[in-house]
Symmetry: D3
Amino acid sequence: MFSHVKDLQFEAKPDAPDAAFARRLQEVLGGKWGEMTVANQYLFQGWNCRLPGKYKDLLLDVGTEEMGHVEMICTMIARLLDSAPLSIQEAAAEDNPMLTAIYAGANPAHFIHSGGGPLPADSNGVPWNGAFITASGNLLADFHLNVTAEAQGRLQVARLFHMTDDPGVKQLLRFLLARDTMHQNMWLAAIEQLKDDGLEEMPVPEAFLDAEQENQFAYQYIDFSSGEEAAEGRWASGPTPDGKGQFSYQSTPTAHAGAPELPPGDPRLHCTPPLGN
Amino acid sequence: MFSHVKDLQFEAKPDAPDAAFARRLQEVLGGKWGEMTVANQYLFQGWNCRLPGKYKDLLLDVGTEEMGHVEMICTMIARLLDSAPLSIQEAAAEDNPMLTAIYAGANPAHFIHSGGGPLPADSNGVPWNGAFITASGNLLADFHLNVTAEAQGRLQVARLFHMTDDPGVKQLLRFLLARDTMHQNMWLAAIEQLKDDGLEEMPVPEAFLDAEQENQFAYQYIDFSSGEEAAEGRWASGPTPDGKGQFSYQSTPTAHAGAPELPPGDPRLHCTPPLGN
Amino acid sequence: MFSHVKDLQFEAKPDAPDAAFARRLQEVLGGKWGEMTVANQYLFQGWNCRLPGKYKDLLLDVGTEEMGHVEMICTMIARLLDSAPLSIQEAAAEDNPMLTAIYAGANPAHFIHSGGGPLPADSNGVPWNGAFITASGNLLADFHLNVTAEAQGRLQVARLFHMTDDPGVKQLLRFLLARDTMHQNMWLAAIEQLKDDGLEEMPVPEAFLDAEQENQFAYQYIDFSSGEEAAEGRWASGPTPDGKGQFSYQSTPTAHAGAPELPPGDPRLHCTPPLGN
Amino acid sequence: MFSHVKDLQFEAKPDAPDAAFARRLQEVLGGKWGEMTVANQYLFQGWNCRLPGKYKDLLLDVGTEEMGHVEMICTMIARLLDSAPLSIQEAAAEDNPMLTAIYAGANPAHFIHSGGGPLPADSNGVPWNGAFITASGNLLADFHLNVTAEAQGRLQVARLFHMTDDPGVKQLLRFLLARDTMHQNMWLAAIEQLKDDGLEEMPVPEAFLDAEQENQFAYQYIDFSSGEEAAEGRWASGPTPDGKGQFSYQSTPTAHAGAPELPPGDPRLHCTPPLGN
Amino acid sequence: MFSHVKDLQFEAKPDAPDAAFARRLQEVLGGKWGEMTVANQYLFQGWNCRLPGKYKDLLLDVGTEEMGHVEMICTMIARLLDSAPLSIQEAAAEDNPMLTAIYAGANPAHFIHSGGGPLPADSNGVPWNGAFITASGNLLADFHLNVTAEAQGRLQVARLFHMTDDPGVKQLLRFLLARDTMHQNMWLAAIEQLKDDGLEEMPVPEAFLDAEQENQFAYQYIDFSSGEEAAEGRWASGPTPDGKGQFSYQSTPTAHAGAPELPPGDPRLHCTPPLGN
Amino acid sequence: MFSHVKDLQFEAKPDAPDAAFARRLQEVLGGKWGEMTVANQYLFQGWNCRLPGKYKDLLLDVGTEEMGHVEMICTMIARLLDSAPLSIQEAAAEDNPMLTAIYAGANPAHFIHSGGGPLPADSNGVPWNGAFITASGNLLADFHLNVTAEAQGRLQVARLFHMTDDPGVKQLLRFLLARDTMHQNMWLAAIEQLKDDGLEEMPVPEAFLDAEQENQFAYQYIDFSSGEEAAEGRWASGPTPDGKGQFSYQSTPTAHAGAPELPPGDPRLHCTPPLGN
């Protein structure tokens, strides 16, 4: 069960409106790696966690914080959308190329659909969707996803930082950059914790018996492309990170099965039959 | 530029058809973490790689291998779809609950749309889409995504392994499990290689100056949810994995900004204005 | 800013697992009219509200409650997914048609993707998406949407109530039915309040000048289909609900403009040109 | 069965082309609240209506009219797309900021995909989809949706009216504003008619027995957010609009169930098990 | 402008309900090649047609007919959904495997969302979307699309014909099969007519000057895959169907450009830079 | 199984960057008719082909070539994205309307998400999806689709050719135009070959018995729209292209069934019942 306070975790006020930047900022609200994704992903992982205790607590803590980040970015976008030129005539009236760029570079749905407010969508107006998140039930697989989610998220915020001069916007981005630093570290620490607790190991899922897989292919680098530069990497020789094997290198791929030939299908499906059928 | 041989990397032949399992197998073909995702993700990362040499070679090698995995699973699905009951009468004719389950548990589009062949879609028939992949240009962020892609993928194959008794199907899954073992190890090794080469560090992006972020929030665990169990984890005290700080723990969240109040909008947008406006 | 307590607003525990019903229950979690929709819709409406005071407070209150409803249904679904038959052989082993129905009627992604947990998707596994919600900035337009959201939601819960015999499931549905009763009443009351406060009227947007629209068409029922039964309804004669006019009835449609003829397009677009061009 | 006349219901001819406005106008053609939505929604409600007579007739009448509105907006968009600058060089050739804004603010697919014609998509080029419509079979739930569809639609047309100076475009918008006025009134009248006919009441569905829901929660406003301003509204005290109860106000939420603990899952799903498992 | 009569173009009444078949029939209503696609495609092509006369008339005629086909299939689906078992207990109560198959093989949204009515979605419940249609403005390109739309549509109807024993359903399918026969013939005739009228030729677009393309690659079959069987086909030697050239055959692909090397990106995007940067 | 060489099939290097054109070029990469579509479509058709020999070889050959086209366009887009203005200030700094147009007309996700690289999406940033392709198992139906895919694709490339002055870009487009010429011819030849081989005929599917369809409707043009211009076309009189009949013309549509009346639904679905029920 959730409760809400009206105050914000951090200030979300631009020095001046900029509807074209508001569109860009949508990427970290409703894009694949935006705040809606991390908030929902951590909460679903928490609700799906069959392990009571610190991991479930962690997931619900951080998912709840991210809901507050959604709120801050929504607030920032609403403020960036003020005072935008609504028509091409208005945009072109003054000899000001920034007005033209704001008119043409803004998201029209910000005005027509949401009346100057944020949308649950990315920087192109494509709606956020549930396939952006995964809660697999396997915490090691998911914590690795969470590391990349925070890395991709911080990368995007860093890029946005270079796309504006507005001090108020930059101040919020500084806060988000710091929280993403924390969260990258946190999920890396959680990966180590899971291993220390003896709950999971690489490769995921550890509990699947090695004997059941085709082990001859389990540590072999196969080169499917011209050039042998990949042979120089750590992934082509030496011990494997899971501590269970040695990488080997195969310079050209081998086919282990002949060309497949499919039988004629059910005639009631009216696929093209073989000649003479 | 690509070329193709008709032989398969590994055999893809079930001992018997099973259209209900064919639907399930679609998850690792066209689902979020299926072979279409890894094939396209690694190829786009390779094409987007501005760093000539072993990393670009690695990405194109493995992406090309995954195209061959798409092919094997497509072949397996086509064969699993043979001889399925097409009508409810046919399914119910014999007193065989497996026929009923196959009729009802199959994907109707497997017959109506593709005539007994695979679809670029997941186990519910939802089409694969390009938002499943990311090629951010930052290799460390992306290699972490690749680790989780292979971990989620191997997890799904392991689950599917327990959902069938068919020896031929299990044989292909054993091969895929082994390659996913290799690929998890490979991306973990590639992460270490990137660091050894001095190209990137955590937190991503390393090149963003620490001085630009709000450092007071960069290593602080904030507890937004009842229960203090999360305080016991590695992520709440001790050195941070990036080697640059110490985790601290804050047991209740602090709001650093007041409740936001938005100005009245442009009257031409006809949003509800404040009272007395 | 949000905080979270681990306790649930209401109990969410089935008496027995039923994976086929778990799939059905997804409709009111991640379907168009599910809890994810109302939670996000009310929160976005609140964040987008430029009117401080009781309306903004109302929206944030109820949006926050709905986040807790998302949590309860997620919990229920996770529990309904326990002990399901994973393979067709398992489903068919005992002579129990319910096992077959559960195998075939379940969502395979519940096992392959989320490992026995809920998904942000509808009863067919189609992901929730941001286009399900609207926060237009005009409270009267949006409160009408909220009325229908609660009506459609309660209708779906009532239908689900008849699709299960499980006492634990029914108990949670009883709670949701009651809250939907409250919320339908609440949004109807909020519509009245908005009018009492003099903030908006029908037709929305009231502030658009009547003089600007083609008033001759503003109260005219036009019959485009055979049969004149519609002429018997309240919408074809008598005073209009907005109190500003009288309905009139036109039994056959009139065309007020000739057939459009488009000029030849830009030859660089290579559209088929008119003959002789 | 439908038939078609070539004449238009109303004139749809701009005084001058404007490809940037053509993109904006797509919102009321193929956006969530556009003409494709209302046309399809009313027709599906009509085809799904199990009640012969005036309601079914009404739905099919108005759905058919809306098909003609789709046609008018398509025609307008095709005409607005004439004579647009196709390349950046062309746009920048004259010192005319409007040409730049048209080049940059247009939808490229209007030229590349449809060759200067309309698309079944919104103002960002996201395709219209079937989830935009609902035909629930319960007319009271659906008529409330229809009220908001017409209110959101008129709101969007009113906003577009302020985004152009073109007299021909404004003339078509004036007609649409008037029809949306009619249709808001019409659906409100239809709601009253349904009640007068004794067919349905609030809360929907009326036929679900009150005794089956948890009545103690059916009229209670629960405050989940800081600030008590919502307590001042009509929704927190006094009689409820359904005429069956009195609103009550609870200033802080109560949890009625303890923290959920999920049992360990099926080991074949390889979720992280509890410690010591 | 459209008008509607209540009578149907052809009877749409099953002899008995079958909710599992209703789900399957959705494919030809709201699937990629269903009636919603052809109706909308032909109408958009008509509205986008800049050529007055017989072609525009043809497109609007047939698009209007297809709207009536949407209606017939909607009606059939509503009737097929009657009397379905709503719960697993009901489905399993009698020893009737057809009831189990109907429960498990039906689309749950048919009951929960639409209350026993059709949905604008395919046989897996994935919503119809606007990207299914194309109106390119080039009639020859589009008429070829229309041929395949009718061929794919007839193929799907023929498959459905074998998936049911119901005489009433089969009767409607017989009608649709005949209309699809007509429409395949009609679009083939329209292709010939376009050429006779001198309006367009293959390859599309004819008006693009041959001199502008790299003619050495315009008639060359290049073999990118093992096996030379493709060399036996008409496409590898002899005159080309456009009458302008001769096919040639190249047994292995040639690369005409070296391996691309991308320059380092803008450092503000934080992509991984080359070593030593 | 695939392999890859680093060299490109043809050069893909612009003379100068242009981020706004990069966005436009996405249409032929990840749009409905782009290279991702044809590559995946031909490969899935090949894998789904139950007919060994020249047709399967053809499909796999050309699908593999198209993978190399995906690669060339990806490379071109990455290069076009260099040196773009990242902020509105940068775009407006010089008095250069082309910079403003590039800022406003570019796809923000090209920078924020992919760091200056291509995306698997169309010119509006909408992701490519699997529903863009069809592999029906019936080669004649699919070869007709392939003709239109190449025709729509060449049409789009021809339009893009007129949207840029860049010699390097135009050079790649010249190559693509030539290959699309070849591929249109190739699929037309394949259609003839299929008929010569006696494998399939129009109407598809030929094997469905004529006696099973309602033959009275199989060659009849029915006019559903005002105007009789369509009667002048080849499709309204004379022999039909399938060689089996004569077109006839019906100037007004006939309804062959009365208005449908649906029975009251299951009361547990709470649809509005008929009056007096």
